[in-house]
Symmetry: D2
Subunit: 348 residues, 4 copies
């Protein structure tokens, strides 16, 4: 008999990693300067510069939407266009945040598969954009979601293909790394290989979905493109006065490869489910499972039955649903889910 709740709604439904909370406890000593003037925050740039093998700037921010919108607003103009996948979070789920913070900056979908941007479609979009014509919004940035909103991962060479086109045309490359650690785990490459070495100019560095509490971060590889970002962040109400408590989380997150271990847990869970169900008749995976998300097609009745049995997930259509594994998804949850899918999959 299934539990009341078998949780596969989102990785943001999961717990925080205890290491991050312990870091808060440790940070709560003495008085320090506010707004990032403290010693903990000062470690961020050094720590991340090592991690990314080049000098970087790190700005903790409360949310992924904040990271995306502020990063893009800092590099774009009000009459610019940011290209992205149609499924990109900035296009579907952030309530116009990028256009708002960017003063009108337009989010412009470009076609592709599995939540990725197709490089040819991207190049064509730039060519047809009307560069220099005041009637037309101007190509200014491209947004790559890593892992994508369909659960796939851009390879390093795919990132390079997009960034080469972008830079050749004067565009800035922004990576929405809400699930950046999951992508790294899958690819087995270094953080630098997937970002600065592949042409990424700035990164929304996801923490929340992979064991964080209340903090993500913006990592700037190319400060020349985001000169006013501090003002953007302050003006947006995104610079905490007690910044040490945000910075401590981010430091704990990357210490001792914690982030990669957590991501491996959720990736492994998702792959385990994928391997079991992809061979089942009546079940189809809509996109490759390369991170911690699965997009599953089944008969509507079969999906109804899963819901009735207490499996929690987001339905994305009559015959489509999304499953997300957390860093703390258990073997037991996985086994129960697979059993229930197997039980209901042929219902019509």
């Amino acid at each position: 008999m299934p539990p009341t709740h078998l949780e596969f709604r989102s990785d943001n439904c999961g717990r925080a990693a205890p290491e991050l909370i312990e870091a808060l406890v440790q940070a709560n000593v003495g008085s320090v300067l506010g707004y990032g003037g403290d010693e903990i925050t000062k470690q961020l740039n050094a720590k991340f510069s090592t991690l990314f093998e080049q000098p970087v700037q790190v700005f903790p921010v409360p949310t992924g939407t904040g990271a995306n919108a502020l990063a893009l607003a800092a590099v774009g103009t009000p009459f610019g266009a940011v290209y992205c996948s149609p499924e990109a979070h900035i296009n579907t789920s952030e309530c116009n945040a990028t256009s708002f913070f960017g003063g009108g900056l337009k989010v412009t979908p470009v076609s592709g598969v599995d939540g990725k941007i197709d490089p040819i479609a991207f190049e064509v979009a730039i060519l047809n954009s009307g560069k220099g014509q005041a009637h037309k919004n101007q190509p200014e940035a491209v947004n790559l979601v890593q892992a994508t909103d369909m659960g796939a991962v851009y390879s390093v060479s795919e990132v390079k293909a997009i960034s080469t086109i972008a830079h050749a045309n004067g565009l800035v490359v922004h990576m929405d790394g809400a699930r950046f650690a999951n992508a790294l785990d899958t690819l087995g490459c270094s953080p630098a290989e997937l970002t600065s070495k592949a042409g990424v100019d700035l990164l929304s560095f996801g923490v929340t979905k992979n064991g964080g509490l209340l903090t993500d971060a913006i990592v700037v590889f190319n400060p020349a493109v985001a000169k006013n970002i501090s003002f953007h962040l302050r003006r947006a109400g995104m610079i905490w006065s007690k910044m040490r408590f945000a910075s401590a989380q981010v430091l704990a997150y990357v210490a001792d490869d914690l982030w990669l271990r957590l991501a491996k847990q959720s990736n492994t869970a998702a792959l385990a489910i994928a391997h079991k169900i992809e061979k089942l008749e009546g079940v189809k995976l809509l996109a490759p499972v390369q991170a911690n998300e699965l997009f599953v097609q089944m008969n509507p009745k079969a999906i109804d039955a899963l819901i009735a049995d207490g499996v929690l997930f987001y339905r994305r259509g009559t015959n489509l649903f999304r499953l997300v594994c957390r860093w703390d998804t258990t073997q037991n949850e996985i086994a129960q889910l697979i059993e229930l899918i197997d039980r209901h999959r042929l219902k019509i």
Copy 2:
């Protein structure tokens, strides 16, 4: 001999109250719905409705700037004016955030003393505003900082005087309660008496400066004036996906009168300093000390000497500086500060 650092820069330099961190630990159990759909967050409205003796809506937000700017943007239009004291935080220290989130909404200072708005000046400003004329921005809201940015406190009747004028003219009353607990402690009245019962429509509820970590909140008493606030917050990237960790802090903050006890500690510290130094020749307090801030005038050389001796504070002019006490300011720090002021005050 003085310590290297005697901390009086800001209440945001202080530690978090351990109760709030403990609340994070307690909240880190099981999986819950994101974006405020969790059970902890659901307690907020009920708890605060009891606290404020009427139904209210509570929205945790990362910062006080976020609380102020989003509260005002939610009630104003892009062609509106928000009246405030010249010293008000929204006017001096938030890098145009209110105008930004409000699409142009203008922050308009009105004169007064001790960081307060003078009711007569306020009424005159409304009368001269050109209501209904499209050339003129339209009076839409008034912002009261409690305690004020000069360390004073609006009495309940002073709040009522402003809100009566505001409501008679169709304006919304916003209270910036970054130091709301300090004001309550000073006045000895109930939270409701100082807000909804005095005509306040919505409140930036400060937590950070008084023992918080990463969270303040907006409290809405009059939901009719802020119908779209959820969209404003989401679009602003201010709705955490793991909201339970923000809500848990806010609940712990008001549990068992913790917030009032913490405020009493910083208020008492400030008063202790005030009582000692106000009688000293060469030292003058610029405004009544009614919360945890002191604005002190001394000779420039005397101030220089304090700095040289390791006292940390913000200088506001050649002969003016601000001291802020924290909930965790110690008797020892107070004693050392007073001794140093006394030692240097007559330097010329």
Copy 3:
């Protein structure tokens, strides 16, 4: 031998109708109140209320982009979505103006043919929009271009189909009538039948392209949806102090059916070209010619030859170009164009 310039670039390349300039001369008498307080401007509402068979408000504005963006900003919120055709002018050619004036308001393309919105795609877009979810921008308005940006015309019943869906879902219906007179001429219906009686809430009333100089207008049928429009316009710098000179143009434009006669001239010219060339081998019309624009497919070499012979038009692709007829396009120009197309059409 062809002329150096055979003008088919745009209807905005044409002259103003002399009647409109004569109206300026007539308006230049005596002193009057500014910003629309004059007697000429006061005639606008009455005159247009008669024209549209119901009370309307008329606001002259400098440009069609101004009319579209301000009309939509006046009815939408910063977290809203405006649906439109992918080819709609607001989506392709106004440099993010709608998002800018709307504080982030998103322009969201919905598929269809001939520059129209498909009603089924429109309804599906609303259903999938996530109404009430703060993550999602909210459906707030729909934009119909009449005539469309592909030279077709929405029939009255097509307008009704869209507006019925819109109103059933709480959306406002905006018509971009940059070529409204052309559509009326084609349909043979009354202005009211094509707008308010068909569910249109507000209209960008085009003047410039059809004999105007420096003025278009916004016509509001449903003032409840655009309460603050005067402030939007003033704040946008779109209320002339010497408004009489704008209003006089608009009045002259609709006096004695001038606008309909001018539109008939450009429509007739376009149809004459269409009838001649649609039967020619090597020439294909991309969309029905129902107003004064033709979208023509020919071999690239044939198009090159037209350009070489001095025909002026905008190329929209290697084998596609647009021809636009003006109210003052001559029989001679038409004949020469047809002859040149016929001469070159089979070039490969």
Copy 4:
């Protein structure tokens, strides 16, 4: 017995100069490229470069509010501050347009007399602004109204004093020249001496109030500070497609010193009134009359009597009113006004 209407409300109540309308008639020949690609518009830059004795860029715009707000938005950032006189039009009468177009850009009054900025107060404001601190909006531009909103005129050396401070601190100098011709007439200097040679970076070039119809212009002396201005204007709906009709007005306005002759007429009228009434008991001029405006103090009853006798003007307080002379104000109007003021001035 007085006329029904004796017009002294505003210079925007006056007629257009016939020369400008004649220019429209002359421009209405043949077909030309839209959006400023025509030959008439192309003359603007050359003509104004001669007029201002250096290369300049000229952008006709519909209104003075448009000119001011777009000029400032093109040079400022959303977290910037524009300093101006408290009486400046951008501060009092443009419904937040500068903040709106500037994405939050704050209009910050600096004290002074007669509608001018005091250079010392200006320098102090910059010094206290918190340059480089993300909490503070950043000093980015200064706005000088010429003639001022109190009817006075900045001398060339006064302009230089402000611009020297501005440039030393990295600020851009914008002149709101709504009554620029009036100032030139008073000072007897050249257009260049009052602008680029005095440190002005860009100018709102007023036409409307001094014989124009529907057009003012932005003149850019220093293009490096306003690189994206074309996009700002297009996005703002301020680039007419039939630009030739705007450009023709601007060219006619400056041809044969028409603008200076028109300004002399309104200045002379204002001075004639000033000379007569300044000696009268009971009448006081609030500011020097250096252009075409007078700010007059009289007893409330005396002002009431003027109104009752049909004199049209804007009352600015119980005992204060403004008189504005137009280029077409007649000797007869002046004589009647003076007679009426003399008749009523001692009423109490």
